[in-house]
């Protein structure tokens, strides 16, 4: 049943269109799109300044600076991402770097980005949330059921708004519940959220009889958030970018972010320093749930169905992205920027492999290898650091 999720995502069937589409667009336009579209998902921060750094990489003069910068873990993953983009652009200059493919990559990545941002917070506290896919489904089903009974596909804006609030509320409440159990410190987050994964999905299946209900999403929702664009950029991508930027700032510049890092780094010390560790953990897991609820809204808008069976591997994809982005599974270190990069590596790989005519399943192999390597690197860094 997991394959239904994969086929839902539809980048696979599109390359023929993308061959036809962009050729009608002029070369200049695709270049322009490349420079404007690339920073959009990362909200303008990473891509623009860092991109030139990859060009002088082979020259000897640039090496000291690169080595110095390499202590920042995002730099490595960014270089991998940049390398992939360069490789696919050279391998398929006409097709890869086109507005269509970039947009498609960004749309596919948008939901995972939103989930990944929340997961970054959770993982930095040295926690994990396996339940996100099920929470997304539960939130989508709750919103969908309301929609079905309040106008179905023809539901008005008022219903759309209530549906969105229901999805966000269900997600946040479920997350807070899991956070409460985690905060007691008696059950590890892995088990709490593994239980949550089963329970949330079970409730969703009970409510629907295991079948995706028809008319779960209103046409208003699909036509606006789902397919709508602003200045050529899909609303889904803009929403994901805004969420990413907001939570990036929350993590990087606020007391909330500092406490998140401190708890993951040394919970006992944080408690002694006056940080309300338990309360903070509840908030972090609730935020994760809230973002899973937002993911549900985006999913309904994008695909119009609850896809009950289509989210069983969301957790693994998202955790992979977070870890690829340099966030430590052992807590205390990480960044939203890294997660942005981590989300785009598999996304770029999938599209890129299709474009150059390699079976896209190689993407799973490549990501798997890189993931293990990334965690190994993290461990090594940690060990050398502790020796000094």
């Amino acid at each position: 049943m997991t394959t239904t999720g994969a086929t839902d995502r539809e980048p696979d069937d599109r390359p023929p269109d993308s061959l036809a589409g962009p050729t009608s667009v002029s070369r200049d336009a695709s270049q322009g799109a490349a420079s404007t579209a690339a920073p959009a998902p990362g909200a303008g921060r990473p891509a623009a300044p860092a991109a030139p750094a990859t060009v002088p990489a082979p020259t000897a003069a640039a090496r000291p600076l690169l080595l110095r910068a390499a202590s920042v873990s995002e730099v490595w993953t960014f270089l991998i991402l940049a390398g992939l983009v360069v490789f696919f652009t050279l391998a398929a200059p006409r097709t890869f770097f086109t507005t269509y493919d970039l947009t498609q990559i960004a749309v596919n990545a948008a939901i995972y980005l939103v989930l990944g941002v929340g997961m970054t917070f959770v993982v930095i506290t040295a926690g994990i949330d396996l339940s996100i896919g099920s929470v997304l489904v539960l939130a989508a089903v709750a919103a969908g059921e309301y929609n079905i009974h309040h106008g179905g596909a023809d539901a008005g804006w008022w219903t759309v708004a209530v549906c969105a609030l229901i999805a966000l509320g269900v997600g946040a409440a479920w997350g807070a519940l899991q956070g409460l159990v985690v905060a007691t410190g008696k059950v590890p987050p892995l088990i709490v959220t593994l239980g949550g994964l089963g329970a949330a999905l079970g409730i969703a299946e009970l409510a629907t009889g295991g079948q995706d209900p028809a008319d779960a999403a209103a046409a208003h929702l699909q036509n606006s958030l789902g397919y709508g664009k602003l200045l050529g950029i899909p609303w889904l991508v803009i929403l994901a970018a805004v969420v990413t930027l907001a939570f990036g700032l929350l993590l990087g510049t606020t007391r909330f972010g500092t406490h998140t890092f401190a708890i993951g780094s040394n919970p006992a010390a944080s408690r002694r320093a006056g940080v309300a560790v338990g309360r903070h953990l509840v908030k972090v897991y609730a935020l994760m749930g809230l973002l899973a609820g937002l993911g549900a809204v985006m999913w309904l808008a994008s695909y119009g169905t609850t896809s009950i069976a289509g989210h069983s591997t969301d957790n693994l994809r998202v955790i992979t992205a977070v870890v690829l982005g340099g966030t430590s599974l052992f807590g205390g270190r990480g960044s939203v920027l890294g997660t942005v990069i981590g989300v785009f590596i598999p996304a770029v790989l999938t599209t890129g492999l299709i474009v150059i005519g390699v079976q896209q399943y190689w993407q799973d192999v490549a990501v798997g290898v890189v993931l293990v390597a990334a965690v190994h690197l993290d461990q090594m860094r940690r060990r050398t650091r502790e020796r000094t």
């Binding site: 780094s265 002694r272 006056g274 270190r333 650091r385």
Partner: protein, 271 residues
């Protein structure tokens, strides 16, 4: 002598069947360095945990500035100007020194940003660098994670945090255990300077020569109660060791040597 700044009377603390403190007394005066010594299991850590609000006592009273206080947590004690440097330093290794210094008491920006919880990193950095400089510590890169610092520098960060916020009492739990000669001298120097500001410094240490060189007074714990309170200047290492092991018991002769806890408490009340 003047009124003690911090005083504990008859503190009792049990952990299950283990009686860690059996009516322990303690006193520290403003501007004084008091060493708290005792053999392993004498109750030093428990007493410090009680006095710094980490552990609630089963019985006994704590007086701060002559007033009875009851700490419901370490924050309570901190609010009253009682800080602790834990033996494990209690630092968030992945965060930088200024962030560790201000952990739990972050400075926020003014206006709307502050209400959103945005940190004032510039001020925290500046104040932290100044606090370190006061201890004679210069950090090469204040934004480096604490984990990348040397043991001595990490120690300094922990001490600086306590010094920056304590205005009454500082507990230092084995502050020199992990340090080299130079760093050790520096920490002890800091201890003296902090005391000169009118703060009571309580030093827990196993190093007897160090205790005698830096402390004004030594309080000796044995089997969960104070068995001696000695002026460091008039005391020898042999006397200290004698008090710790029980061959010498100035304050309460033979009180806790063989007698069970009931006997000991009986005597306490009789006194």
């Amino acid at each position: 002598m003047t009124e003690p700044l911090l005083e504990a009377r008859g503190v009792v603390k049990r952990f299950g069947h283990v009686q860690a403190l059996q009516g322990a007394d303690f006193r520290a005066h403003a501007g004084e360095v008091v060493a708290l010594v005792g053999d392993n299991g004498a109750g030093k850590s428990t007493l410090v945990n009680v006095l710094s609000g980490v552990v609630a006592p089963d019985a006994g009273e704590i007086l701060l500035d002559g007033r009875l206080v009851r700490f419901s947590g370490p924050q309570d004690a901190q609010r009253l100007g009682v800080e602790t440097v834990y033996q494990d330093l209690s630092l968030a290794q992945d965060l930088d020194a200024p962030t560790n210094l201000y952990l739990g008491r972050e400075l926020l920006r003014g206006g709307l940003l502050g209400r959103l919880g945005v940190l004032d990193r510039t001020t925290m950095r500046r104040e932290a660098v100044r606090a370190f400089a006061e201890l004679g510590v210069t950090l090469k890169d204040p934004s480096a994670p604490v984990a990348t610092l040397s043991g001595g520098q990490r120690q300094s960060v922990a001490v600086a945090r306590a010094v920056a916020f304590a205005h009454r009492v500082i507990f230092l739990d084995e502050p020199t255990a992990a340090l080299g000669v130079v760093q050790r001298a520096r920490v002890l120097d800091t201890v003296r300077r902090v005391a000169e500001r009118g703060i009571a410094v309580v030093l827990i240490s196993h190093n007897m020569p160090e205790v005698l060189s830096v402390a004004d007074r030594v309080e000796v714990l044995r089997l969960g109660r104070r068995v001696a309170s000695l002026r460091a200047a008039d005391t020898t290492i042999e006397e200290l060791v004698g008090a710790m092991t029980g061959s010498l018991d100035r304050e309460q002769a033979a009180a806790a040597v063989v007698g069970g806890e009931e006997d000991a408490r009986g005597e306490e009340e009789a006194r």
